[in-house]
C-alpha cells in the first residue's frame, strides 16, 4: 500500500506531511524549508518556476508570477474576490469560457485548478524525494468557508497533479486533529489562523475523538503580507526622507526591500531589534547609496496594530455564530506563520483570557492534521471520527427570486436533506432547479453552484405536482442534487458542476500538456 500524504495548500505557503511509524513528519523541500511558497511563474525564456524560485523573482517578473491563486479558485470572474485580486495582482486575471476566473501568464491562459496543480505537484515531488517512493494519494486541506465549487476545483487540481484526493478537509479541522492527536477529553477549541494572505477563525468542539466545527469566519484579504507591505512602506518612506531617493518605482530595489522586510518581521518575533542592511540599493550624486536602518519590535507593532485588532472583531463574529462566550473556550490554537508574532499572541491571549496553546507548530499543524486524516482513512481507524460542517447554507432559487435554504450553514456533513417543491403554472411540464450556496434571502446574491432541468412532469394544475428535491453533501463538502417527480417517479440527479470545475477531458488535456512540457524541458 502506498503512502498517503497530507497537503496544506495555502494561499501563501504550502506544506506536506506524512505519518512515519505512527508519528507525523513534516517533509522539508530540497532547500531544507518545511514550507514552500504557493507561487508559480513563467520566466522570459518560458521556464516554469514553482515555490522559492518563483518567489525570489516575484517583483522583477511580477506580470508573470502568480501568487495567492487560491483566492481565485472556483470563483466567478465577476465575484468581489476576483475583482479585488485584479486590483492587487500584477498578473492578468481573465474571464474563462465558464465565467470562471483564469490566469494569463507567459502568453498562456491557465485555469485556477491548473495553477494549484503546479503547487500540488511540487509538494508531491518533495514527498517522493523524501520517501524514495512514488506517492499517489493525498488528503488536501481547504478553508472551512470554501464552497462546493472551490472544493471541486481543489479536487481537480489534485487529479491534474497525479494525486487521488482521498478527502478534502477543512483547515481548522486538520489543525484540531493535529492538536487532538493521541489526546482525549471534551474541549471547545478556537483556531485562530493568520497566514500569509488570509485570516480564518473557527470554533470547534472536540469530544472523545470526535471533532465538530461549530462556526467559522474570516477575511480572505488579510494576512502576513499586509504586515510586510506596511514594513516596506515604512522603509521606503524612511529612505526617501534620509536620502531623498524614491525607490518605489525600482523593481530590483522593491524585491530586495520585500525580502528584507519579511525577514526582519520574522526576526522581530524573537528579538527586540534588528538591522536592515541593503547595500548598493541605489546610486546618488556621490556614488552608491546603502539602506541601513534599525527596526524595533515596537515600531513593527505600531505599524500593524490595527490589523491585529481587526482580526479580533472577526473572532467575536465567529463566537456569536457559534453561540458561545469567550469564557467557554478551553483552548486556543494558533495556526499560520504570522501567529509567531508576539503582538498577535498577546492580543489573542488577552481577548480569550487564556494563553494560546504552544504545543503545535503554526506553520505545519494543518499539514500534520491532513496526514493524520490520510492515515485514518487508509487504515480505517475509527478512533478518530471526523465530523465537519458545511460553511454555507445550501438551497435553491424559488419563485420571486427568493432563496430557500434546505441545509443551514454549520450543519454537520455528510448530510442529506430533501424538500417537496411544486409547479407555478398550470400544465407546467418542466422545472429548472437552480442550486445556490450562501446566506442571502435573495437568490442572485448567493453563489450559483449549478442548475438542471427536470422535465416530463405530468400535466396538472399549478401546485399539484410534487417534486422531491434531495441534496447531499459528502464528507468532502461536495454537493450532489437529485430531483424526483413523486407522481411519475421520474428522477434526475446531478453532481453539481460549479464554476471553474473541469471536465475529465479538460483534465486529461492539461495533464498531457504538462507532460509534454516536462519532456521538452528534459530535451
Amino acid at each position: 500500500m502506498g503512502r498517503v500524504i497530507g497537503i496544506d495548500l495555502g494561499t501563501t505557503n504550502s506544506c506536506v506531511a506524512v505519518l512515519e511509524n505512527g508519528q507525523p513528519s513534516v517533509i522539508p523541500n530540497s532547500g531544507g524549508y518545511k514550507t514552500t511558497p504557493s507561487m508559480f511563474a513563467i520566466t522570459q525564456d518560458g521556464k516554469r518556476l514553482v515555490g522559492h524560485l518563483a518567489k525570489r523573482q516575484a517583483i522583477t517578473n511580477a506580470r508573470n508570477t502568480v501568487f495567492a491563486a487560491k483566492r481565485l479558485i472556483g470563483r466567478r470572474f465577476d465575484s468581489e474576490e476576483v475583482q479585488r485580486s485584479q486590483e492587487l495582482c500584477a498578473y492578468e486575471i481573465v474571464r474563462g469560457p465558464n465565467d470562471d476566473a483564469r490566469i494569463q501568464v507567459g502568453g498562456k491562459t491557465f485555469t485556477c485548478p491548473e495553477v494549484a496543480a503546479f503547487i500540488l505537484r511540487e509538494m508531491r515531488r518533495v514527498a517522493e524525494e523524501y520517501l524514495g517512493e512514488p506517492v499517489g494519494e493525498a488528503v488536501i486541506t481547504v478553508p472551512a468557508y470554501f464552497n462546493d465549487a472551490q472544493r471541486q476545483c481543489t479536487k481537480d487540481a489534485g487529479k491534474i497533479a497525479g494525486l487521488e484526493v482521498l478527502r478534502i478537509v477543512n483547515e481548522p479541522t486538520a489543525a484540531a486533529m493535529a492538536y487532538g492527536f493521541n489526546r482525549s477529553g471534551d474541549e471547545k477549541v478556537a483556531v485562530y489562523d493568520l497566514g500569509g494572505g488570509t485570516f480564518d477563525v473557527s470554533i470547534l468542539e472536540m469530544s472523545e475523538g470526535v471533532i465538530e466545527v461549530l462556526a467559522t469566519a474570516g477575511n480572505t484579504f488579510l494576512g502576513g503580507e499586509d504586515f510586510d507591505r506596511r514594513l516596506v512602506k515604512h522603509l521606503l518612506e524612511g529612505f526617501r526622507e534620509s536620502e531623498g531617493i524614491d525607490l518605489s518605482g525600482d523593481a530590483m530595489a522593491l524585491q530586495r526591500l520585500k525580502d528584507a522586510a519579511e525577514k526582519a518581521k520574522c526576526d522581530l518575533s524573537g528579538r527586540e531589534r534588528v538591522e536592515v542592511n541593503l547595500p548598493f540599493i541605489a546610486t546618488g550624486p556621490g556614488g552608491p547609496v546603502h539602506l541601513s536602518v534599525e527596526l524595533t519590535r515596537e515600531t513593527l507593532e505600531r505599524l500593524v496594530d490595527d490589523i491585529v485588532q481587526g482580526t479580533l472583531k472577526i473572532v467575536d463574529q465567529c463566537m456569536t455564530d457559534a453561540g458561545l462566550g469567550r469564557e467557554q473556550i478551553d483552548q486556543v490554537i494558533l495556526v499560520g506563520g504570522q501567529t509567531r508574532m508576539p503582538l498577535v499572541q498577546q492580543a489573542v491571549a488577552e481577548h480569550f483570557g487564556k494563553r494560546p496553546h504552544k504545543g503545535v507548530n503554526p506553520d505545519e499543524v494543518v499539514a500534520v492534521g491532513a496526514a493524520i486524516q490520510g492515515e485514518t482513512l487508509v487504515t480505517q481507524d475509527d478512533n478518530l471520527l471526523l465530523l465537519d460542517v458545511t460553511p454555507l447554507s445550501l438551497g435553491i432559487a424559488t419563485f420571486g427570486g427568493h432563496f430557500a435554504k434546505l441545509i443551514e450553514r454549520n450543519t454537520t456533513v455528510p448530510v442529506a436533506k430533501s424538500h417537496i417543491f411544486t409547479t407555478t403554472r398550470d400544465n407546467q411540464s418542466a422545472v429548472k432547479i437552480r442550486v445556490l450556496q450562501g446566506e442571502s434571502d435573495v437568490a442572485q446574491e448567493n453563489d450559483l453552484l449549478g442548475e438542471f432541468v427536470l422535465s416530463g412532469i405530468r400535466p396538472a394544475r399549478k401546485g399539484e405536482p410534487e417534486i422531491d428535491v434531495s441534496f447531499d453533501i459528502d464528507a468532502n463538502g461536495i454537493v450532489s442534487v437529485s430531483a424526483r417527480d413523486l407522481a411519475t417517479g421520474k428522477e434526475q440527479s446531478i453532481t453539481v458542476n460549479a464554476t471553474g470545475t473541469l471536465s475529465e477531458e479538460e483534465i486529461h488535456k492539461i495533464i498531457e500538456e504538462q507532460e509534454l512540457y516536462e519532456v521538452q524541458l528534459k530535451e
Binding site: K47, R56, D259, P279, F280, I281, A282
Partner: protein
Amino acid sequence: MSESVAERIARLLAEGLERFGEDRIEQAALRWREVLRLDPGHQQARDYLESAGFAVAPEASGPARALGAQALEQAAAGEAEEALPLLRSAAEAAPDDLVVQAALELVRAHLYAQYQARTRHGAGRPRVRVGADQLLRFNLPPDAGFVLAMVDGHTRVEELVTVTGMDPFDALHLLGRLERAGIVEIDP
C-alpha cells in the same frame, strides 16, 4: 591588430577558399563573414564574398566604427571584459551599424562562453566572501547589488540567473564582476 587575430584571419581566408574550391559555397561564406566580423574593413574577404554572389554590407565609418575596432583589438588581446563597455557605447551610438552590432555580439558570445565555463555551466553555487563592513568599501551599481543580494550560498548560478529576471548575459556579467572583485566565489 595582434598577430593571433591576423593568423586567424589568414586561416579563415584559406579555409574559405578551400571550401569554395570544393563547391561548398555556404561554408566558404561563413568563414569570410567571420573574417569581416574580426576585421570589418577586410577588403579581400569582401571581394571573395561578392565574387561568390553574396551581398556585403557597405563598410561603415565614423566614430562608432572606430570605437568598435578599438574594442575588437582589446578583445583580441584578451581583454574582452574591458572591450565590452566600449562596444556597448559604439553599438548605442550606431544602432543600425550591423558590423558594430555583430562585433558586440561576438564579444558577448566569447564572454558568455567564459562565464559558463567559470560557473561550470550554471551548476556552481556562488557565495559571499566578504563581510558586510568590508562590502561597503566597494563601488557597485544597484544592479550588481541586486545580483549580490540573490547570492545565498545555496542557489546555483543557473537558478540565480533565472530569479534575477535579467538577461542571462547581464546577470552572469555582473556575477563575474563580483567574482573578479573578490566579493563572491563560486563553489563547485
